[in-house]
């Protein structure tokens, strides 16, 4: 199996496991799931270093969403009386 296929299989497998585990823990916050997807994506990409035909749109989108989620959490802590 070549590196790109292994990367895609790992990404799909880890995303599925993350959803199953978080669902089993009765997690209902969508941002937790998305943050896990972002972490899995960046870790898998760093390990497998797959070739990309274009600029990494998925990584950029996930980074923006992850930053937004973290910013909201920090804001929540700071604003909380």
């Amino acid at each position: 199996m070549d590196r790109e296929r292994l990367y895609l299989v790992t990404l799909a497998l880890l995303n599925t496991i993350a959803v199953a585990v978080l669902a089993a823990l009765s997690e209902t916050r969508l941002d937790v799931y998305v943050s896990m997807f972002a972490l899995i994506y960046f870790a898998s990409t760093a390990i497998f270093r797959p070739r990309k035909r274009l600029f990494d749109v998925v990584g950029s989108s996930l980074l923006v969403v992850f930053s937004y989620v973290v910013a909201m959490r920090v804001l929540e802590v700071l604003v909380k009386p």
Partner: protein, 242 residues
């Protein structure tokens, strides 16, 4: 027509979008919505992954055949001196200058002026300019502008699947490059004598491109599955490189 990775990846993205929207708006299930988002991520990553137009074996065979032609040329010319890898002004290509006769008469800069020619016959020096075999030196999708030696070496050797990993240290004007598990090489003695082994030749080209300086392989040593190569960065005004 789009290739199969784009088609299949788009199908997964579309299915993920429908699943997440339906789950969120109609069913109201967060895990299913997350599953849909996960599918969008995997589908988009799939669509962005290029399929292999040529199998690795075919690429290897093409590179070996290119080396055979250079070997024949070197044999015919009786070349024995080390080649100098010269980055061309556009910064996209590296050529190899193989000195045949006369030494110390031409600077590397004067040799580079013969871009586009095959034979360099000037000032009592005679040599040939050849395009050395390489898979790909420059990342077509660089993350950041500018070139650094490590990223060019990794793209040229690791991403192109010539070797498993590469690292280097700088010692004065020399770059000591450690190439682990080289996968493609050739058994042509004249080619190895003049151009270096195939992974070393690619490393010298990568350093020339990244530093915009001419380079020359000084020595190489094989140690089990590792190849240690000393590559010297030359000055453009250097004459005594032979």
């Amino acid at each position: 027509m789009a290739d199969e990775n784009v088609a299949l990846g788009s199908c997964v993205v579309a299915f993920g979008a429908v699943l997440s929207l339906t789950s969120y708006l109609i069913i109201g299930s967060v895990p299913l919505t997350a599953m849909g988002i996960g599918l969008i991520v995997v589908g988009a990553a799939w669509a962005l992954t290029p399929s292999h137009p040529l199998p690795r074996e075919v690429v290897g065979a093409l590179v070996r055949s290119s080396c055979s032609n250079i070997e024949a040329l070197l044999e015919a010319l009786g070349a024995t001196k080390r080649a100098v890898y010269i980055p061309l002004r556009g910064g996209k290509k590296v050529v190899a200058y193989i000195p045949i006769k006369g030494s110390g008469n031409l600077t590397v800069e004067e040799i580079a002026e013969n871009e586009g020619k095959v034979i360099v016959n000037r000032g009592g020096s005679f040599g040939v300019l050849v395009s050395p075999p390489t898979a790909s030196l420059r990342n077509p999708h660089p993350i950041e502008e500018g070139l650094d030696v490590q990223s060019v070496l990794e793209h040229a050797l690791v991403d192109s699947e010539v070797a498993a990993s590469v690292k280097f240290v700088v010692e004065g004007n020399d770059f000591v490059v450690e190439i682990k598990k080289p996968r493609i090489d050739v058994d042509h003695p004249r080619f190895k004598l003049v151009m270096g082994s195939l992974p070393s030749s690619i490393a010298a080209q990568a350093i020339a491109l990244a530093t915009s300086k001419p380079t020359q392989i000084v020595s190489e040593k094989r140690n089990r599955d590792r190849l240690i190569v000393h590559v010297r960065a030359l000055n453009w005004t250097e004459r005594d490189f032979t």
